[in-house]
């Protein structure tokens, strides 16, 4: 089993460089690269599933000629839990990409893009497997860089370059916190090896708190905690769709993974960690879903929805920690399990939705809701699969999203029953926010699905082309996974128990009573399906003997209905965006019709990101003016830089000799 994982680890960069070489020789490398990624995913996925089913894998250690570094890899249940969705989505996105990047693009560019794709998957795999701080940081940086190059795939457009820089800047800023975190931990333990850190704990609670804060900032920038989320709504729309799927589905989850992994180094958690994480999570969820609702761009909406879902994971984690500290281990285990299961589920449905958005973009050339509409007829597969993903994302039964929603709610209700009043109030707050967020998610995704696929086309275009075989197959696999997890979710309880045990072996059982609620939910899902089928058949037999006519939609007797008269996506969201205007600060530019015979009128609404506008922009503007004073250091003269290096070395030498 171990060997398979090594094969996957070697195959990914090999495929990448092979694709790069193929691209340079003028052949389209997409098929080759996709085949390589799929093979690597199968090889890597099997050991991960083996570990989740209770198997044990020996760690490997290879010497690495870096001071303090060691090529130390290990697959425990926590790693395996994140590896499985990584491989599933990487393979699906690669297969989709093979169809998406088929023709019309220079093969040399495709070769480069596939190289970075393979390196990104490789880096994410290494992030999850690494048990040495330097190796982890190396993989973390490789992940950031390769995904940056994928984001700026269409680099000739300024609208793509700017998000690329924002992403790179934020991920480097986040990484700075991680360097500090890992170096302090390494200095304390006098080793860079994770196994030496685990369960030792940090002796001083102040230092542990500082380290926790560093982890939240560093990993939060990758995961997208508010206000560090500002790169998501920029980078996701700019990247090619299957890359967005991979980034939103897996890359941001490495932040959650890192946070959980760090918790194993810090010893007993403090209650305020849980409270902080819960607060950040709830805020992120509300912020994400409100901004998602106000978007006019399909991929931007999906990006904000990822922010929301990351918030839900953080809230589950935070409430779990709070319960753990306040003497409610059942709440603790439920919260952690809810966060983990939600991370898993989000990979499946957000991957599916981004791939669906890619198909829409491919077919129509637009991501703006006001240009779309009525696509279910020309794109029946994309539409149905996107609809399925939307139902899953809204947390509605019988699909997978509901299971993690149920676990989150059970965590919150578990805290509500607690005799500890602070925990009960935190639980109540969580219940209220989760309910509001799920209601807003239904609004957001009925808007996204309705405005894109239902009704009449808002802009007459040439007939959109449905996506081809490989693209459709990739979406079908993800959709099947959403359905399968929804109906067989109870089988994930034992693996989840193993994952949670990585964090604390003393955790109680997830569901003490048998059968677990997840079994009931699966049963209810089957009943629902049977009822739907029965009612559909009954309806069909009822209508079989009657006249069934087709006509226009009821238009109140108006003589000339027109597609532009449909309710727009913005109008659909308006009551809720108006309700949240204090948060959204949406700008409305209205030039109303005037005069007796009005000619033209315009209405434009826009919801720029509050954090980007009010926080990041002034901060960076000030930073630029401050740092401009040091610009004289930069001359572009090589000799000068050599001098700088020499001076640095001299200073270090003097410091050492002191």
């Amino acid at each position: 089993m171990n060997a398979l994982l090594l094969v996957a680890l070697a195959l990914l960069p090999a495929t990448g460089f092979a694709a790069w070489f193929w691209g340079r020789t003028g052949r389209n490398p997409s098929g080759l690269a996709a085949a390589g990624v799929v093979a690597a995913s199968v090889f890597g996925g099997l050991p991960a599933i083996y570990v989740l089913l209770g198997g044990e894998l020996m760690p490997w250690r290879f010497p690495w000629p870096v001071p303090g570094g060691e090529f130390h890899l290990e697959t425990d249940a926590l790693t395996a839990w994140f590896l499985v969705p990584l491989f599933l989505l990487s393979a699906c996105a690669a297969v989709y990409g093979a169809g998406f990047w088929r023709n019309g693009i220079a093969t040399r560019r495709l070769g480069n893009a596939w190289l970075f794709y393979c390196l990104l998957v490789f880096a994410m795999m290494l992030v999850l497997l690494a048990r040495n701080a330097l190796l982890f940081l190396f993989a973390w940086e490789l992940m950031a860089l390769s995904s940056f190059f994928l984001v700026v795939f269409e680099q000739e457009r300024a609208t793509v370059r700017r998000p690329g820089w924002i992403y790179l800047g934020l991920s480097q800023a986040g990484a700075a916190f991680l360097f500090a975190l890992l170096l302090i931990l390494g200095h304390k333990a006098n080793s860079m090896d994770f196994t030496h850190w685990a369960w030792r704990g940090v002796d001083s609670p102040v230092l542990a708190g500082v380290l926790f804060a560093l982890a939240v900032l560093g990993f939060g920038a990758k995961a997208g905690f508010v206000p560090l989320h500002i790169w998501l709504p920029e980078a996701h729309p700019a990247a090619p769709s299957h890359v967005s799927a991979l980034m939103s589905g897996v890359l941001i989850k490495t932040g959650i993974y890192g946070l959980i992994r760090t918790l194993t180094f810090l010893g007993e958690p403090a209650a305020w960690w849980g409270g902080t994480l819960l607060g950040i999570g709830l805020l992120t969820a509300i912020f994400g879903v409100t901004f998602a609702l106000a978007q006019h761009d399909l991929k931007r909406l999906l990006a904000y929805s990822s922010v929301e879902n990351i918030g839900l994971m953080a809230a589950g984690l935070g409430l779990g920690l709070l319960g753990w500290c306040l003497g409610e281990p059942v709440v603790g285990v439920l919260g952690l399990a809810a966060a983990l299961l939600h991370a898993f589920n989000h990979t499946l449905f957000k991957g599916l939705l981004f791939l669906g958005a890619g198909s829409v973009l491919h077919a129509t050339g637009s991501r703006q809701f006001e240009d779309l509409g009525g696509l279910l007829k020309p794109l029946p597969w994309t539409g149905a699969l996107f609809g399925l993903g939307a139902v899953a994302l809204c947390g509605l039964p019988p699909l997978n999203g509901f299971l993690s929603e149920l676990l989150l709610m059970l965590t919150a209700f578990g805290s509500v029953l607690s005799p500890e009043n602070p925990l009960a109030v935190a639980g109540l707050l969580t219940v209220a926010v989760l309910a509001l967020v799920s209601g807003l998610a239904v609004a957001t995704f009925s808007k996204a699905f309705g405005a894109t696929f239902l009704g009449e086309p808002r802009k007459p275009t040439t007939t959109p082309q449905e996506n081809t075989g490989t693209m459709r197959a990739a979406m079908c696999i993800l959709a099947a996974a959403c359905v399968a997890v929804g109906f067989f979710g109870f089988m994930l309880v034992t693996p989840l128990q193993r994952v949670v045990a990585v964090l604390s072996p003393q955790f109680p059982k997830l569901f003490p009573a048998s059968p677990s609620p997840l079994v009931w939910v699966s049963g209810a899902g089957v009943a629902l399906l049977v009822l739907v089928a029965g009612l559909a058949v009954w309806r069909k037999t009822l209508l079989a003997r009657r006249t069934v006519d087709a006509t226009v939609t009821w238009d109140c007797g108006y003589a000339r209905p027109h597609p532009r008269m449909q309710y727009t996506a913005s109008s659909f969201a308006q009551p809720l965006t108006a309700l949240f205007r204090a948060l959204l600060r949406n700008r409305v530019r209205l030039s109303p019709p005037t005069g007796i015979l009005p000619t033209a009128a315009r209405l434009a609404t826009e919801a720029p990101d509050l954090c980007a506008e009010r926080l990041a922009r002034p901060l960076f503007a000030r930073l630029t003016t401050r740092l401009a004073r040091w610009r004289w250091l930069q001359h572009g003269n090589v000799q000068l830089y050599v001098l700088y290096i020499a001076l640095t070395l001299l200073a270090l030498l003097l410091w050492k000799l002191r």
Binding site: L406, A432, W554, C556
Partner: protein, 303 residues
């Protein structure tokens, strides 16, 4: 499985259209009219099931799936709802989360069907539906959280069984506030006055009715029946909280539960008769108010 538990869903299937008849009869009495027959909704359903259908050329399978999925979801939800003290068919920790999930699925299906017509009326109705339900859901779940804490239980059946007259004696205000909050949620979720007016005749002012403008025949029968069952579900929920079920034996319990459900219907009829519909912009205040009442109840119940 308890055979007795089969009775509440069967009663709901048979009697839920009668609830709408009772409401209409109460409203007629208040207005000094004789009103339609109590069984009018049954006649309507029978008539609709015998009809053909007319579909808009704009619509797709989403439009046809809406009523089917909606009715199937609410039928599944029936199995989770106890009546009075009679336990539900399925009971497990967190079953009310599945209940709200199923109602959410019903809503998603209906909103999808409405948007599928491409009509601006139905788009508007769908928009208002998601707007109101997004605000009603927190109120509902906060109310349930308060009840769960009072009863120290996590399933609807157990909560109903655990709430005894002792709770009413000791923490009466808490339960009273929750019942008021649940009542407001019931009115909002079932598109009744003061949130929505089922009798309005102008498309621009409707919410639930405007979403189903294009449905007809068996599809509309499914929608009408689904709405009646949803009203039954909420009425049974409110009743279950009010009746101290633990102290009665099964049959009186069932009678009490049934009586409670019809009392709720009469209450809805009275509310519809004595008050006007609220302006649409006031509705969020009403629902946030319901949530605030439930949260106050929760804080009062803390020890």
């Amino acid at each position: 499985m308890n055979l007795l538990s089969l009775i509440p869903p069967v009663l709901a299937l048979i009697l839920s259209p009668l609830l709408l008849g009772v409401i209409n009869r109460v409203k007629a009495r208040f207005a000094g009219r004789r009103g339609p027959p109590l069984l009018q909704v049954y006649y309507d359903l029978a008539k609709l099931l015998r009809k053909g259908a007319v579909y808009s050329r704009t619509t797709t399978w989403v439009f046809r799936a809406g009523p089917v999925v909606g009715l199937a979801a609410v039928l599944t939800a029936l199995c989770l709802m106890p009546l009075g003290g009679v336990p539900a068919l399925w009971k497990f920790p967190g079953d009310f989360i599945l209940l709200t999930g199923l109602l959410g699925l019903m809503r998603f299906a209906m909103v999808g069907a409405a948007l599928d017509t491409g009509s601006s009326f139905e788009g508007m109705g769908a928009s208002r539906e998601v707007w109101i339900s997004a605000l009603a859901e927190p109120a509902l779940l906060v109310a349930l959280a308060t009840l769960a804490r009072q009863a120290q239980e996590l399933s609807l059946t157990r909560i109903c069984a655990a709430l005894s007259e002792q709770h009413w004696l000791h923490t009466g205000p808490v339960l009273a506030l929750v019942v008021v909050a649940l009542g407001l949620v019931l009115l909002a979720e079932n598109a009744r006055i003061p949130v929505d007016d089922p009798n309005t005749h102008l498309e621009l002012t409707m919410i639930h009715e405007v979403m189903v403008l294009d449905h007809g025949g068996p599809d509309f029968a499914f929608i009408l029946y689904g709405a009646a069952l949803k009203l039954w579900l909420f009425a049974a929920l409110v009743t279950g909280m009010v009746i101290p079920a633990g102290s009665l034996s099964p049959w009186p319990n069932l009678v009490a539960g049934l009586g409670g459900v019809f009392l709720v219907a009469i209450g809805v009829g009275v509310v519809e008769s004595v008050m006007a519909r609220l302006r649409l912009l006031i509705v969020p205040q009403l629902l946030v108010g319901a949530g605030a009442l439930a949260a106050t109840a929760f804080l009062l119940g803390l020890k």
